[in-house]
């Protein structure tokens, strides 16, 4: 490869792309050409960098200088200053919330500093559409080792020793699962990569698929060898077109290089992978529902037992692992189980990728060792809560998870501790909430999701979630009573205990945890008919601070024009008023008033 003076790694993950990363990249290339730098400076598109909140972004190697929030307008100046004159542009660098000084180097930024990259080892470094770059980063060495120097039993033993647990949420020991599938009687065996990531706000699987598709292929080929599978499937959401495109390119390249297909590495071992597009049902992330969908049936879970390791795809033993699990495999094989098992806590080894979203300064994907404290993620990597607001809770595990209150902020994060707190690891979604969040509303939001996504097969999930949602809606509208709380709790428990699959069994978690840690908020909705966070608009009373309206806004009348019910009266330069009898509490006046004259109580 030709050496360049500088390599500009433009993030081309979905987040950055939707903010115009490709336009930025084109502008960069044009500008570099115009300045005659094309032989010295090269632009590379990489997979998701992880710091999605500040995209489109650019990392300049070899210095590792990080530019954020780029627009095409910034490019000519950036190219001239940095690449022609050698003066990095401070204006486009990351500045920590409480600091005035920008941090030029990516490795010095708090967001990146505390991360430990295993599954995301190649993110932002390689071009995901180029297999050679993957190989240059020691890619496929794990496969070479597994195929040439190890028996299937040794591979399984290594994975078992590493104590890697399924990253899809339930945390079953991956090595044990592999062994069960290997030992199943049938000769035909399948392996499946579950890339049907559906939790709202979670996108770590997409990021891995987009930034490093070969790591999944390598993991799957090693897995197939260990299990004795001849055919693999990747079940990917239709909503991930970019990930799918890169995956298909990766498969073609791997076949071209003899890493996939017949007679891999001349060892006589053959394995093929097929990509299957999901039609967009959340429940298809559940393994048995995924298998049904893969068979061409309605995507509905089947009763377990029998488990897929014995009776899976079309009745054959099938091993299903999540994207992140597969991505961990090559490193475990090449670097050894001992190295991996040293990371993390006693029962949860290795690292976990979380998508850190919500009311947090640094939004993005973070990979951290197991056992890290919640505080370190939120205040360290995440940079705390914006606008100096107070941290209230963090919701982990997506719609199936629970809310962890600020009292548990020093909780070390692993499978067991999260479960104890009433939540779960899930696929790794982490939604941070500040004091302006109503916990009843949060529970209602997640129930809306699960109720909508329930397949409807078993009655507790189909009907139970619907009635749970009904009760929650009633409470947020101020129509609840205290008996509702008992019914809510009782029904939640029964749904959790008796639902057929993971979706229903975890759907009440948001209710149960919010009721456990924030019961006072429920009571205040019911008894006082007040929403403490002022989110549930039906419980709010909107009034206008007359003095402010006149002195600050000069009676601008915007609220009057916006009010859909014509409940606001007033004249220019005079104070406006809200007629409480007509007001439907839509909050439009509050949203439009630029002078803070509309008050919510």
């Amino acid at each position: 490869m030709k050496p360049y003076r500088a390599e500009l790694m433009v993030c081309a993950g979905t987040g950055c792309v939707s903010n115009g990363a490709f336009q930025v990249k084109d502008a960069l290339e044009n500008e570099i050409k115009e300045r005659g730098l094309e032989n010295e400076v090269r632009v590379v598109t990489t997979g998701c960098n992880g710091f999605c909140g500040v995209g489109p972004l650019l990392v300049v190697h070899p210095d590792g200088i990080f530019y954020q929030l780029l627009t095409t307008k910034d490019i000519p100046y950036l190219v001239e200053e940095h690449f022609l004159k050698g003066r990095p542009v401070q204006r486009l660098m990351y500045t920590p919330p409480e600091d005035k000084l920008p941090v030029p180097k990516m490795s010095e930024i708090e967001f990146f500093k505390h991360q430990m990259l295993i599954a995301l080892r190649n993110r932002g470094i390689i071009d995901p559409e180029n297999i050679e770059e993957y190989i240059a980063r020691d890619g496929y060495t794990g496969l070479a080792k597994a195929l040439n120097g190890m028996t299937p039993e040794e591979i399984i033993q290594t994975v078992k020793d590493s104590k890697l647990r399924g990253r899809g949420g339930a945390g079953f020991q991956t090595g044990v699962k592999w062994e069960l599938t290997r030992k199943a009687k049938e000769k035909t065996k399948y392996i499946v990569c579950n890339a049907d990531e559906g939790d709202p706000g979670a996108y770590m699987d997409r990021s891995i698929l987009e930034s490093d598709p070969h790591s999944i292929l390598e993991g799957m080929i090693i897995g197939a060898r260990a299990i004795g599978a001849q055919q693999g499937f990747i079940y990917i959401r239709h909503e991930y077109p970019l990930a799918m495109k890169r995956l298909l390119i990766a498969i073609d390249q791997a076949k071209e290089y003899g890493l996939l297909g017949d007679n891999i590495f001349d060892t006589g071992f053959s394995f093929d992978i097929q990509v299957h597009r999901g039609a967009g049902a959340f429940v298809c992330g559940e393994e048995t529902a995924l298998l049904s969908a893969l068979e061409g049936q309605r995507g509905e879970p089947r009763p377990r037992p029998p488990y897929p390791v014995e009776h899976g795809l079309s009745g054959y033993p099938t091993n299903i692992n999540n994207v992140e699990t597969w991505a961990n495999i090559p490193v475990i094989i090449s670097r050894g189980a001992k190295w991996y098992a040293e990371i993390g806590t006693e029962n949860s080894k290795g690292t976990k990728v979380f998508s850190l979203v919500g009311k947090i300064n640094n939004t993005g994907l973070v990979e951290v060792p197991m056992g890290i404290k919640l505080r370190d993620i939120i205040y360290g990597i995440g940079g705390g809560i914006p606008d100096g607001k107070k941290f209230k809770a963090v919701q982990t595990g997506g719609p199936s998870g629970g809310c962890i209150p600020d009292s548990l902020i020093d909780l070390p994060i692993d499978y067991e501790s999260l479960k104890e707190a009433g939540s779960m690891m899930g696929s790794g979604g982490m939604v941070v909430m500040d004091e302006d969040t109503c916990m009843v509303d949060v529970a209602r939001y997640f129930l809306t999701f699960t109720c909508d996504e329930s397949c409807g097969k078993c009655s507790p999930c189909r009907d139970g979630t619907k009635y749970l949602l009904d009760i929650l809606t009633r409470i947020t509208e101020g129509k609840g009573n205290m008996e509702d709380l008992d019914l809510l709790e009782g029904l939640s428990k029964v749904v959790k205990e008796t639902a057929l699959c993971g979706l229903g069994q975890t759907a009440p978690n948001p209710i149960l945890t919010t009721m456990k840690y924030f019961r006072d908020e429920y009571e205040s909705h019911i008894k006082d008919k007040k929403c403490p966070a002022k989110v549930c608009r039906q419980l709010n009373i909107y009034t206008i601070d007359e003095e402010r309206c006149v002195t600050e806004g000069h009676g601008c009348g915007v609220c009057m024009r916006e009010c859909p019910e014509k409940a606001i009266t007033g004249e220019k330069k005079k104070a406006h008023k809200i007629n409480q009898e007509i007001c439907v509490k839509c909050g439009a006046c509050y949203d439009v008033c630029r002078f803070g004259a509309v008050i919510v109580e």
């Binding site: 309605r298 009763p303 409807g456 097969k457 009655s459 009907d463 009782g490 029964v494 205990e497 008796t498």
Partner: protein, 582 residues
């Protein structure tokens, strides 16, 4: 064998059994809704949950699909289990408040009301998927499926349209635990007397009570297996493994010297007579259907019931439906008067109802018949002389509300009468079978103008036919009651016996001269008795002497003069003609 503890009792059970199977074996009641022993466990209703206790934690598991494991400790009625079942049934009560099985299950648990809102008080479907699974896995018709998801889920067909793939087997309705699926006959009536109306029939049945041999058979026309190549549930449940679907019908050729035709009759299709409302109005049935209804092995076990299960208070029996009628059959069906009176007698015996007989004349011509007629008059049967003109449900006066009204001219008092009743029994005309023409062609027979087989002579040959060695018995010759049929049958049997080994034929028959015949086949087309066949290897036509009646059609038609008739050869006729002329 595996050791488990079930409700505190230590048991040793076979490996591979589910908890539910063990519990049923131990006579422990676990409620189930979506479980059926002939279907794969579906585990959707969650009613069969039991508590499985482990060392550190105990879990609720569905007993229908969880297999027993060594050392399992199972509680089928712990507080936790019962609580889960209770809330689950409350959820289902809100979904399907009209489902009887849910109401009963709830009542058993002491639940009267569900705390959840009821959207449709008429709803019955609990989405147990029994129908969908049966249609898919057992029947293999793939007609039913689920639509939508979550709370909106429902059972439907593709695009919510009547499916062409439906084989109308009724399995979905049979398996449905809540009666949410109903089978209706083609006129939209609910099937109460499934055998009377045209609802689905069972594919395995004993043809009739007195059949020999008295064993069930598989009706290929109705058997699901022969439509979709699946099902075979009967094979699964038949312990002696007596069922074999691969057995084919075999055709045997038997050489006989003579045959007795006793192919019987049909009843006139009453639905072509709209004035009587058959097939349109409920509780208008034919005499044969009433016969079936009365029978101890019939749909109601011999009780005379209306469609809605009530006993009739008034019954009208309408004679001469299509018989003695210029518009339908001119002849008298002969048996109706007497069986109509027998039916009146049965109604008197079984229910407390008024019986009206609408007749033209009472033809009680047999031995003891007139006496029976007199007895019926004494029993209180109302005899109204006048043919029923119409059956309607349009009431004119309050007494006629919700009744069937029979309108007839009573010729004894010379007025039109309207009689309100609950049940109308039609006595349709006895007609020749639809396929009788085919039989006639096969045996070389003729028919009388009404379509019945023609006997050789009405007085001198009432049993034999124009075809030698072919005899008639019973209603295939014409309407006939049982004694007459038995007598004719015995006569036919006697005639067969008297034949011995040979059939005596008339001396006049045709023959084809093999030397002259060119094999043009013209004679085969003109022979009314199917007596001529083509001999492939000789390439000539040949006459079967026993079938030939000596009509001479072939002789006249033969262009080459090969056909000749003995006793009437050309030279003989020429001699006769010249003798007569000169």
């Amino acid at each position: 064998m595996i050791n488990i503890t079930l409700n505190g009792k230590k048991l040793s059970v076979e490996e591979g059994m589910t908890i539910l199977q063990v519990a049923q074996q131990e006579r422990i009641d676990i409620p189930t809704l979506c479980y059926h022993p002939l279907l794969e466990p579906y585990a959707a209703c969650r009613m069969c949950v039991v508590e499985v206790k482990g060392d550190s934690k105990s879990e609720l598991k569905t007993s229908c699909n969880t297999k027993v494991q060594e050392g399992m400790v199972i509680e089928t009625d712990s507080e936790r289990t019962l609580n889960a079942r209770r809330l689950n049934i409350e959820l289902l009560m809100a979904r399907a408040p009209a489902a009887k099985v849910i109401q009963e299950m709830a009542a058993q648990m002491g639940i009267e009301k569900t705390p959840f809102p009821i959207e449709n008080p008429e709803a019955k479907c609990i989405l147990c998927g029994m129908c969908v699974r049966v249609c898919e896995d057992v029947v293999g018709a793939h007609v039913l499926t689920f639509e939508e998801r979550g709370f909106e889920r429902k059972v439907t067909t593709a695009f919510n349209m009547p499916s062409e793939k439906c084989i109308e087997c009724g399995a979905c309705a049979y398996f449905c635990p809540t009666e949410a699926i109903r089978v209706e006959d083609f006129r939209g009536r609910e099937v109460l007397h499934s055998e009377l109306t045209l609802g689905p029939t069972t594919a395995i049945r004993i043809p009739f009570m007195q059949s020999t041999p008295n064993v069930p058979f598989i009706d290929k026309d109705n058997c699901i297996h022969f439509k979709t190549d699946k099902c075979k549930l009967c094979e699964m449940v038949c312990e002696p493994e007596a069922i074999n679907h691969d057995v084919e019908d075999t055709f045997k050729e038997i050489e006989v010297g003579s045959a007795v035709l006793a192919t019987g009759y049909e009843l006139l299709d009453c639905s072509n007579m709209p004035q009587y409302g058959y097939g349109r109005l409920d509780n208008v049935i034919t005499s044969l259907e009433f016969e079936h209804l009365c029978h101890a092995s019939g749909p109601t076990g011999g009780k005379i019931l209306l469609k809605d299960g009530r006993e009739p208070k008034g019954v009208a029996i309408l004679h001469c439906i299509g018989s003695r009628d210029e518009n339908y059959m001119k002849y008298c069906s002969r048996v109706c008067c007497m069986y109509a009176m027998k039916m009146a007698h049965l109604v008197h015996e079984k229910v407390d109802a008024e019986v009206y007989e609408f007749y033209i004349d009472i033809r009680a011509f047999g031995k003891g018949y007139e006496e029976f007629y007199n007895r019926m008059q004494k029993e209180g049967t109302h005899f109204i002389r006048g043919k029923a003109a119409e059956v309607t449900n349009a009431a004119l006066i309050p007494e006629e509300e919700n009744k069937l009204i029979v309108r007839a001219e009573d010729t004894t008092v010379n007025m039109i009468r309207r009689i309100p009743v609950d049940l109308v029994i039609l006595c349709p005309a006895i007609v020749a079978r639809k396929d009788s023409e085919k039989i006639m062609k096969l045996f070389g027979l003729c028919s009388t103008p009404d379509g019945f087989f023609k006997e050789q002579h009405p007085k001198l040959g009432p049993v034999s036919t124009d075809a030698d060695g072919i005899f008639l018995a019973g209603a295939c010759q014409g309407p006939k009651d049982i004694p007459d049929t038995v007598a004719q049958g015995a006569g036919a049997a006697g005639a067969v016996m008297s034949l011995g080994d040979e059939v005596a034929i008339e001396p006049i028959f045709s023959a084809i001269d093999e030397e002259i015949c060119v094999g043009c086949k013209i004679c085969i087309g003109v022979c009314p008795y199917d007596a001529i066949s083509y001999v492939e290897d000789k390439k000539i036509s040949s006459i079967e002497e026993t079938l030939c009646k000596g009509c001479g059609a072939c002789v006249a038609a033969c262009p080459s003069g090969a056909a000749d008739q003995n006793c009437f050869t050309n030279s003989q006729i020429e001699a006769e003609v010249s003798g007569a002329l000169f």
